[in-house]
């Protein structure tokens, strides 16, 4: 759907406003602690939104979304560290390379359906992590440490962290608009059809293998860039952090919590989940029980709000369905 038509819908502007508030909130009062919390939110939102392209639209459960994030991180950090590329170029190359790789992976494993696909993606995470642990140019299991002066081109560490924050928010914003644009397009309709009934979709003329490979590849691009930014910011990357299966699982949980297949729901789900975890981690009351409390809260939500957050909102405020997508 052309951009102009999207811009006529209120959701476009709601999204824009939300992203602007998100970007500017920590600027007031130079609130760096808030910035650090929000940048993790942005990472989760980016991961979950892109995962949602596969999960919510095409109906494929991907445990391997973290592979895109980690490989993007490695590519970017490696280019910056070994070849002294500028950050922007490294990020772009990371995004493109990982998307291409995803296309190749996708053509292989997208022949699988349902749980088989899900398991294959688990296998890919483990295989890629084990590979990175043995791959010497990436420092094997020791990973890559960046020296303190990598932040100099961005105006020193203090300024660099702000620059990285804004870039991350931009990546998050692009992810949300990408989900939104795909959902409102013919491509998106084809994906939704695949998600509902793949055989019927193919018989209706949806070119299923192509669409699946394309969306798998598309869902790799922004997470790869986010990974690049994230590990550049950490100035350190190692296989166990880059390919942490838990983060993939969390992204799935978040997308289901928010309401898979929706744009706003997934973003809010990611935001709330991460804020909740962050709060529990730093609250002295729950210090020893934070895992238990997060688990219990999640369970309650799963049991009593089956449609996810958006399902709940749609049911109780039916009018929102026209505005929030």
């Amino acid at each position: 759907m052309p951009l102009v038509r999207l811009m006529r819908r209120p959701f476009f502007w709601i999204l824009a406003l939300a992203i602007a508030v998100f970007a500017l909130a920590p600027v007031f009062g130079n609130n760096v602690a808030l910035r650090e919390a929000l940048i993790l939110d942005a990472v989760y939102i980016t991961l979950a939104s892109n995962l949602n392209l596969m999960l919510g639209y095409a109906g494929y459960i991907n445990f391997g979304s973290i592979v895109f994030f980690g490989l993007g991180g490695y590519t970017c950090v490696w280019l910056v560290n070994s070849y002294h590329w500028p950050l922007g170029a490294s990020l772009l190359v990371a995004g493109v390379c990982v998307s291409v790789l995803a296309l190749i992976f996708g053509l292989g494993i997208l022949r699988l359906r349902g749980a088989f696909f899900a398991l294959a993606t688990v296998g890919i995470v483990e295989a890629v992590q084990a590979f990175a642990e043995n791959f010497t140019p990436w420092g094997g299991s020791s990973g890559i440490y960046l020296s303190g002066d990598i932040f100099t081109p961005l105006g020193g560490p203090a300024r660099a962290l702000w620059v990285i924050y804004f870039m991350m928010v931009a990546v998050m914003g692009l992810s949300l608009y990408l989900s939104y644009a795909i959902k409102s397009s013919k491509f998106g309709l084809g994906l939704l059809a695949i998600g509902q009934n793949e055989d019927a979709a193919a018989i209706l003329g949806v070119p299923t293998p192509l669409y699946k490979a394309l969306v798998y590849s598309a869902s790799a691009f922004l997470p790869a860039i986010a990974g690049g930014l994230y590990f550049f910011k950490s100035a350190f990357i190692q296989p166990s952090d880059a390919f942490d299966l838990t983060l993939s699982t969390e992204a799935l949980v978040v997308a289901m919590l928010g309401g898979q297949g929706t744009v706003a729901g997934v973003a809010i789900g990611a935001f709330l989940y991460e804020e909740l975890r962050g709060y529990l981690l730093t609250s002295s009351m729950f210090a020893n029980f934070q895992l238990f409390v997060s688990g219990a809260l999640l369970l309650l939500i799963v049991l009593f709000f089956p449609g996810g957050l958006m399902g709940f909102i749609y049911r109780h405020f039916p009018r929102t369905q026209k505005v929030l997508e």
Partner: protein, 404 residues
Amino acid sequence: MKRLYLLAAAAAATAFAATSALAEDTITVGFTASLTGPLNVDSAGQQRGYEFWRDEVNAAGGIKVGGKSYKVKFVTYDDQSVGGRVQQLYTRLINQDKANFLFSPYSSGLTAPATVITEQYGKIMIDSGGAEEKPFETGNKYLFMVITSASHYLSGAIDALKKYDPHAKLALVYSDDPFSKAVLAAAAQQAKAAGLEVVMDESYSPSTTDFGPIVNKIVSSNADAFLGGGHYSDGATLARQMHDQKANMKWISILVAPADDKFAELGPAALGVTVPSQWELQVNFKPQFGPTTAQFAKAFMDKMHAKADYHAASGYTVGVVLQHAIEQAGSIETDKVAAALNATDITTFFGRVKFATDPGHHGLQAAHQMVLAQWQMVNGKLGRQVVWPEEAKSAPIMFPIKQQ
């Protein structure tokens, strides 16, 4: 609209929550600990060391600076053993909790990302849990390490082997993590320099659960001395399976796991296993500053209801070193304390502490020495004895390991 409201509310909550007012005469020290996740055991030992120091200092009236005395206050969060959390939490410690000084999380993998933040804000961080050298080679100015770094972990074991069995055939089998790899890479070089033969040099994935085939491979390599391991469960499993499968090693050195008292659970499989240790109860250095080993061990036991291990001792030493530097500097200003740390050369019950000051290794430990401890039967119970270096030993070495 709902979304906006939520965003704003959460932002406000994060911004205004926990504005800790800074009391007049307090020094705030911040760190994260791994309350959950795989690093939990080692991290807990270190944290107990930190806390014990704080309690001791406060009981003694605080740190004295120019006629004033400062009480020590801790702010600490759970980093879940995950690198990604560490940066968020250290930023929070510095900006929101206004920490004056920072201690390191446990492990090199978590210390490295934390360093990016502490250096950015020019805050001192003292490290006792990350032995890897790489973070010290990237030009940091405010990072200091009180423990011996990774490349010297097994120096003692190599020296001892050279003395007891110059013809030993070594199998180096270690976890695929940054710390273990750094330790064993250095050990391999030292072994070659000492004229020892390395017949197997391999790393395994940290998630390995069954070492059966690996032990068979060790047996096939004809090795009679084993150096390796890594972190917690893998090291213990290796020890047990070498024993179960009767690998008949004359010498076994395993990193980290045998330094914990729970290692005794392995029973006969633990007997004779040596572990490089930053510190043991039997080690006796004459402290210029702080308590003696005996005083420390007893007080720690009384207060924390746990036997002091090297993580606790090194954690405590972090505090002692900071306290010493502040008192020397006569100030709590970062630059003055950093200068005092650069000039530090003291011996505590933990051993001598002195930091490298050349830009290529700034902050790396330059003086502390490790010991080698061995699991032996003492009065019918398994316990650790210091067996190397010779001048520090508390019991004669058991060589070769007696198979039962």
